[in-house]
C-alpha cells in the first residue's frame, strides 16, 4: 500500500520518514528511529509498557499508527535524562526501587510524567488510579507508588527553586 511521508518531533528532534500506513507508532519508534526504550508487551492496549507522551498526553503507542503522529511532539524514555543527569522522576524510581526488571518502567515513567504535569501533588489514591493501566510483574507496585510520590516532591522543589529567585 502507498507509503506516507511524515514529520514528527521526537525528544526535541525533528524526524522525517516514509512509512507504510500499517506501521504501529511503537514499531516506528523502536525500529525506524532506533529508540528501543519504548517496550512492547501485549500490543493490544492492555499492559501500558508502550506508553509514550504525545502532545502532552500519555498514550499507547501500540494503538496508534505512525502516520497518525504527523506533526506531533513525542517524548519517549530516551528524552527524559539531560546528558548524564537523570530526570527527577527517573531519579526517584532509582532511589525508591521503583523497578526491578525494568520492562514496565518506560511506560510507568510516561504515565507519571503526564500525571505530575497535571497534578503536582497527587494523593496515593490518585497515583494508584493513574498507574492502573500499567502492568508490572515484579515490584508489587508499592515501590512505584513511593517513587511517584517522591518524584512529585522533587519536581515541586525544583519548581519552587526556579520561581523563587533570591532577592
Amino acid at each position: 500500500m502507498t507509503k506516507v511521508s511524515i514529520e514528527v518531533n521526537v525528544n526535541g528532534r525533528t524526524r522525517h520518514a516514509t512509512v507504510p500506513p500499517r506501521m504501529l507508532l511503537s514499531d516506528f519508534i523502536r525500529h525506524e528511529l532506533s529508540l528501543p526504550g519504548t517496550h512492547v508487551g501485549c500490543e493490544h492496549g492492555v499492559c501500558g509498557s508502550c506508553n509514550v507522551v504525545v502532545d502532552g498526553r500519555a498514550v499507547r503507542s501500540c494503538l496508534m499508527f505512525a502516520v497518525q503522529a504527523e506533526g506531533a511532539e513525542i517524548t519517549t524514555v530516551e528524552g527524559l535524562a539531560q546528558g548524564d543527569d537523570l530526570h527527577p522522576i527517573q531519579q526517584a524510581f532509582w532511589e525508591e526501587h521503583g523497578l526491578q526488571c525494568g520492562f514496565c518502567t518506560p511506560g510507568m515513567l510516561a504515565t507519571a510524567q503526564e500525571l505530575l504535569a497535571q497534578n503536582p501533588d497527587p494523593s496515593d489514591d490518585e497515583i494508584r488510579e493513574a498507574i492502573s493501566g500499567n502492568l508490572c510483574r515484579c515490584t508489587g507496585y508499592e515501590f512505584i507508588i513511593s517513587a511517584i510520590r517522591s518524584a512529585a516532591a522533587k519536581l515541586r522543589e525544583r519548581e519552587s527553586e526556579t520561581t523563587l529567585q533570591p532577592v
Partner: protein, 286 residues
Amino acid sequence: MKPSAFQYERPNDLHAALGLLASGDDTQILAGGQSLVPMMNYRLAQPARLVDINQLSELNYIREDGDVIAIGALARHAAIKSSPLILEHLPIMAEAYDWIAHAAVRNRGTLCGNLCHADAASEMPAIMQILEADLVLSKVGSSRTVPARDFFIGIYETVITADEMLTEVRIPKPLPGTGWGFEEVAMRRGDYAWCTIVATLQIEDGKITAPRIAMAGVETSAARLTAAEDAIVCQTPGAALFVQVADAAAQAADPADSATGNAAYKRDLVRALLPRVLNVAVSRAG
C-alpha cells in the same frame, strides 16, 4: 501480531470524510483506535481502507444546545470525563468513566467510537439508553436521528450502515432533582463490566416517577430493564420492593456462560447490584 496492510485516508473535514465512506468497500472509520487497533493487531479486523477522522476538529466538542448536551464524534473520553458541563448536568457519565479503561486509553478513545464498537460489556451503551440520548447518523446529503434504545442490535452490531458516521450524541439534560445510580462489578476498575446496572429516577410525593434502568455486560447487548421500571413506577421506595424487583430481573436475564462468569453468577450480580443502584438513586433524588 501486526495489522494487515490497508489504504490510509486522512480527510480534513466532515464533507470529505463522508464522501470517502460513500465510495469504496470495506472501509472503516478510525477514531480513537482504542478498540479498532487491538482488533487489527489480532487480525480480527482487516479493513482494506481506514478513514482517520482525527483531523475533523469541527467534531471535537461538548456543548450546551438548549436543553441538550451535544457531544461530537471527536470528543475523547478524557475530555468528557472532566468537562464542567458533564459534571454539572450528567455526573453519571463522569462517575462511569472511572470504570471505563485507563487514563492513557481515555486520552484517545471517543464516546462515539465506543458506542459504534458496541461491546456487550461496555458501560456507555447502557447509560445512553437511560439518558434517552439521540444519535445523529450522517451520510452524504442526509442524516437521521436514532434513539439510543434502537441503536444496538447485538455483540459488535448496531444499526449504522457502512456509509454513515455517528457525528453527534444528543443527551437531554435530566430534570432537576433526578437521582442516579451506577454500580459495576469487573475484574478490576477499568476492565470491561461483568455486570453494570445504571438507573435514573425522580421522587414525587414520596413515589418513584420516570424510572429508567439499564444493564450491560450480562446479555449480548446493553438493554433497558423495562419490567423492573414498570414494577417500581408510582411505588414508595423500599428494601422489600427493590429485592423483589431484583429477583425478577435476575430471573428474566438471559446471560450466556462466558469467560467473565457463568450464567448463575451473572444472575447473582443482577440480584445484588440492582437494589444498590436503586437505593443510591433514591437517596440522590429530590
